[in-house]
């Protein structure tokens, strides 16, 4: 399995957390909450599309709404393959971070 890029990993994790409310605007908002800054729409869209194409995500459409100019929402959901990819990332991350003691920020 190919390893994910950083943005792909972050987006995949965000989708995991958002459960059935994962779509572009929400993903962007949540990433802002964590990292503190908004990403461009395109910056999120491109990895999303690639994750979809690689089979980590499946999509379904929601209802159109006025606030979206009458356009439907495209929701994203993790597939089994997506979960597997996350598990693999988690294993790698834990291995990498194991026993790491960083000098505290205050020191």
């Amino acid at each position: 399995m190919k390893t994910l890029t950083r943005p792909e990993e972050q987006i995949l994790l965000t989708i995991y957390h958002l459960q059935d409310k994962a779509y572009l605007v929400n993903i962007r908002d949540r990433l802002k909450e964590i990292t503190g800054k908004y990403l461009d729409v395109g910056t999120i869209y491109v990895p999303l599309k690639r994750l979809d194409h690689k089979g980590y995500l499946e999509t379904y459409y929601g209802e159109p709404s006025a606030v979206r100019g009458g356009k439907a929402i495209k929701f994203y959901k993790l597939t089994a393959k997506g979960y597997k990819a996350l598990a693999e990332m988690k294993r790698i991350q834990e291995q990498l971070w194991k026993g790491v003691v960083l000098p505290s920020a205050k020191a």
Partner: protein, 872 residues
């Protein structure tokens, strides 16, 4: 959340419609609108707009990169499908591929050929400022590439625009060797032969021949200064430093190596292995005399000089000197010399000159071959595409849209042509070395140097790809899948008319080329078998450097059984010789009549079998023949307005080298014979009885005894001149040599016409195969209903041959026109006969028939059951 919901501004919507990927455009627009609304609600509409603007700018590269990424994924898919398609139709792919690749290669080679001719002399830095001085006849405008020596320093001195001027003499293949060499009797091993040019101090200022080592170009003002090319210097000195070394050069009192000069490139009309100092005082009669036109002159003009003004000044200046009044000095641009001197006389330096007509013809042939190859490719591609209607239908059913199909078809043919381009370059690379010898031209392909040309051809190839892809792309992709899959559409029937027109066109071109080949052949044969006025077969010309004892040699030769007769002459027909002004009785100077002068003995006319029309031959019995006898040819009489009958005893004055008049009396008139190229009409000739100056001995050998005669003649020569070196040639050799260029021309168009026919035949194979494929069922049913193989064969064959016949009808008038233009370059031309046309037609039909019959026979031989079984 919000009370009102805003729509995106129209401009943003418009921009996004380009920017956003098609698949997700809707929901992305939704996402943008949602965020836009949110910002507008919390921070106002203007900051929302600002955000949107920022988004558009910042997202642009992301979306663009994304698009490229996805397109490359699709490209892989297309290439895979294209390759699969190629594999499935191997034969068709090969025919199509080979035809275009060969066509492109041929056109590339022809382009190199033409470019080589156009590149001549362009390597000189100031090529556009360099001119050659011509002497143009005032009355008839005959152009001579020679001028009078003193004019050049006069031009330089008196015309401020003339920056540099140099006289140039072509000195021929000169031997040089170690000091003290006796060139009269030397063995070839110890001397080096080099083509020698004599030039003055300005030679290297006018021309850009690089001096690699040694003195500057001004050294050419020192007597005996010689510049050698590295090759010649190395051949003689090896690794020794040659600068300043004394050498012996034939015909020079002293000589030393002043420097090493880079050998002229193959695209220089001036070629040399050695440049030596021209010292006019050494040879005042020929090099420093206004009345003798013997050498070449070149000038370089100042940067902003108007050549017309300069020319006028030259004419005026020349009129004030003793320069012959029948001529005017004219200037010819350097860049015009190689291709624009076809009709020049005395153009000895310009040996490699080509005719602009030949270059144009080659260019036209190149374009025609490319056209044939293109037509072929387009034809085959479109006919094949018709067969793929079913595939298209299927693709549409599965969800392909027209745009995707168009790009698929276009992509396929562009890919194919890109491959053919690569193949063509490989073909050119492989075939250039052998072709250089055949075409008699040094052609090479440098990827760096010819990058522009190669890119141009690549673009042409891709253009052909697009052209051949457009038709199937747009027509076939617009099929309605239901009709196609139901089988209602006559697949491949579309565009039949266009394909037929193209095939007719293709065959017309090849037939026209063939006619061209045959006409050139006929013309060469015509010239070679033309009555040239003397018998050049079986005549051996022997050089006689030593004059004493020549009568002895003639007597010795007369005793040989294999020798019929021998006669002496000052220059052999077919080479260059002296031309000078004559003043026939009733004319005053200037008479504007020039004639070529020969010195002969009494046996020459008999030996060459030249007919005496009136009067008599020279004879030793008339002592006065030696001092005032002259024999002239018919042309000279015509120029002097004499008739053959009243010519005898007429007086003719000639002017000798010192300017004195020598009165002569006509004793005989001979029939005209051709002594130079047959492209020009016969010139005026006069013969003086002067055996002592006739150093060329013509020996007529008895028929069929050449092998015995040669050693016997050489033996007689050695007996007479034990010290001398025997040198001889057959008289028909220089005569044949003048057809070299015409023969090369014929061979070249022959080769390319052959290739064009090959390509056209390939195209026909493809079309016939395809068309038979279409009619397989028809053939099968005909057979079942009792039609014989012969009948079906003729049904199919006639259908195709009809078009070839039409092509011939188109080709004939075109090639007739083109070839009569070409023949105009000859004074003596073969009449148009029907056979070149008929042979061309027959061979075109033959090739077409050959290709058709193979395919057709196979179709008629198939068991109808096998065909019809597939029904349903």
């Amino acid at each position: 959340m919000q009370k009102t919901s805003l729509k995106l501004p129209k401009s943003a919507n418009f921009l996004f419609s380009f920017l956003l990927p098609q698949t997700d455009r809707t929901n992305l627009l939704g996402d943008y609108t949602e965020i836009y609304n949110r910002i507008a609600f919390s921070r106002g509409k203007s900051s929302a707009k600002l955000w949107l603007l920022k988004q558009i700018f910042r997202s642009f590269p992301r979306y663009l990169g994304d698009g490229i990424y996805w397109r490359s994924v699709m490209l892989k898919n297309y290439i895979r499908i294209t390759l699969r398609n190629f594999k499935r139709h191997k034969g068709y792919t090969f025919i199509n591929f080979a035809g275009l690749a060969i066509g492109l290669a041929v056109t590339l080679i022809i382009t190199f050929y033409v470019m080589d001719d156009l590149k001549y002399d362009r390597f000189h830095k100031d090529a556009d400022r360099i001119y050659r001085i011509l002497s143009v006849g005032v009355k008839r405008g005959t152009k001579n590439s020679i001028t009078a020596g003193p004019l050049l320093p006069a031009f330089k001195e008196n015309i401020p625009e003339v920056e540099f001027a140099t006289r140039v003499v072509y000195w021929g293949g000169m031997q040089f060797g170690p000091p003290g060499t006796d060139f009269r009797n030397v063995d070839e091993g110890s001397v080096i032969r080099a083509d020698c040019i004599l030039g003055e101090a300005d030679f290297f200022n006018v021309f850009d021949f690089k001096i690699l080592k040694g003195a500057t170009g001004e050294a050419l003002s020192k007597p005996g200064a010689v510049f050698l090319t590295p090759e010649k210097a190395e051949a003689f000195f090896g690794s020794r430093d040659p600068i300043g070394e004394t050498i012996a050069v034939r015909g020079f009192e002293t000589a030393f190596v002043a420097g090493i000069v880079e050998a002229p490139p193959t695209t220089s009309h001036i070629r040399f292995g050695m440049v030596a100092a021209l010292i006019p005082e050494k040879n005042p009669v020929w090099w420093d005399n206004f009345e003798n036109l013997t050498l070449m002159g070149y000038v370089k003009l100042a940067k902003d000089a108007d050549p017309q003004v300069v020319e006028d000044k030259m004419v005026k200046l020349a009129a004030e000197t003793k320069f012959p009044e029948i001529f005017e000095p004219r200037i010819q641009p350097l860049l015009d010399i190689h291709l624009g001197s076809a009709d020049h006389y005395y153009d000895v330096l310009n040996v490699g000159k080509n005719d602009i007509v030949v270059v144009y013809t080659m260019a036209v042939i190149g374009i025609l071959v490319l056209l044939v190859a293109c037509i072929n490719f387009v034809n085959l591609s479109t006919s094949r595409a018709g067969m793929r209607a079913r595939e298209v239908g299927m693709r549409k059913v599965v969800g392909s849209n027209q745009r995707q199909l168009i790009s698929q078809f276009l992509g396929e043919s562009v890919l194919m042509t890109a491959f053919t381009f690569v193949a063509a370059v490989v073909i050119v690379q492989i075939s250039l070395p052998p072709l250089s010898t055949i075409l008699d031209k040094q052609l090479t392909l440098h990827f760096g140097q010819d990058f522009f040309l190669l890119s141009l051809f690549f673009l042409i190839a891709v253009g052909i790809g697009i052209l051949s892809g457009i038709y199937p792309a747009f027509v076939i992709s617009s099929f309605r899948p239901v009709n196609v899959l139901r089988g209602e559409l006559q697949t491949g029937r579309t565009g039949v008319t266009m394909r037929r027109v193209l095939v007719v066109f293709q065959f017309a071109i090849t037939t026209a080329l063939l006619v061209g080949v045959f006409v050139v052949m006929a013309q060469i044969k015509f010239l070679k078998t033309m009555d040239i006025g003397y018998n050049r077969e079986q005549v051996l010309a022997v050089y006689n450097p030593l004059r004493e004892g020549e009568d002895l040699l003639k007597q010795r030769l007369a005793t040989l059984p294999s020798v019929l007769s021998s006669g002496r002459m000052s220059a052999s027909p077919g080479s260059n010789f002296t031309r000078q002004e004559i003043i026939p009785e009733g004319f005053t100077r200037p008479s504007d009549i020039t004639a070529s002068r020969f010195h002969i003995d009494e046996d020459l006319f008999e030996t060459l079998e030249i007919t005496i029309l009136q009067g008599r031959n020279f004879s030793r019995e008339y002592l006065s023949d030696l001092t005032d006898g002259i024999i002239v040819n018919e042309t000279l009489l015509r120029k002097a307005n004499y008739t053959v009958e009243d010519a005898l005893s007429r007086k003719i004055d000639i002017v000798d080298e010192e300017g004195n008049f020598i009165p002569l009396r006509i004793v005989g008139v001979i029939k005209d014979f051709h002594y130079t190229t047959l492209r020009q009409s016969k010139g005026a000739m006069m013969f003086l009885f002067n055996p002592q100056q006739s150093h060329l001995l013509m020996v007529r050998i008895a028929p069929g005894q050449t092998s015995q005669a040669l050693p016997a003649i050489e033996k007689a020569y050695k007996e007479t001149y034990p010290e001398g070196r025997f040198q001889s040639f057959f008289l028909d050799e220089p005569f044949d040599r003048q057809f070299q260029r015409d023969r090369a021309f014929m061979r070249n168009i022959g080769i390319f016409a052959g290739i064009a026919i090959f390509i056209a035949s390939l195209g026909l194979i493809g079309l016939v195969a395809f068309s038979i494929e279409q009619r397989r069922k028809e053939i099968a049913i005909r057979k079942i209903l009792g039609s014989g193989e012969k009948k079906i064969f003729s049904l199919l064959a006639v259908d195709f041959l009809k078009w070839v016949v039409i092509a011939n009808l188109i080709a004939w008038p075109c090639s007739h026109f083109a070839m009569s233009q070409w023949l105009r370059g000859f004074v003596y031309r073969t009449p148009f006969r029907p056979w070149p046309f008929l042979i061309a037609a027959v061979s075109a039909l033959f090739f077409a028939f050959l290709t058709i019959s193979f395919q057709t026979l196979r179709a008629t031989r198939t068991n109808p059951a096998n065909v019809l079984r597939h029904e349903g």
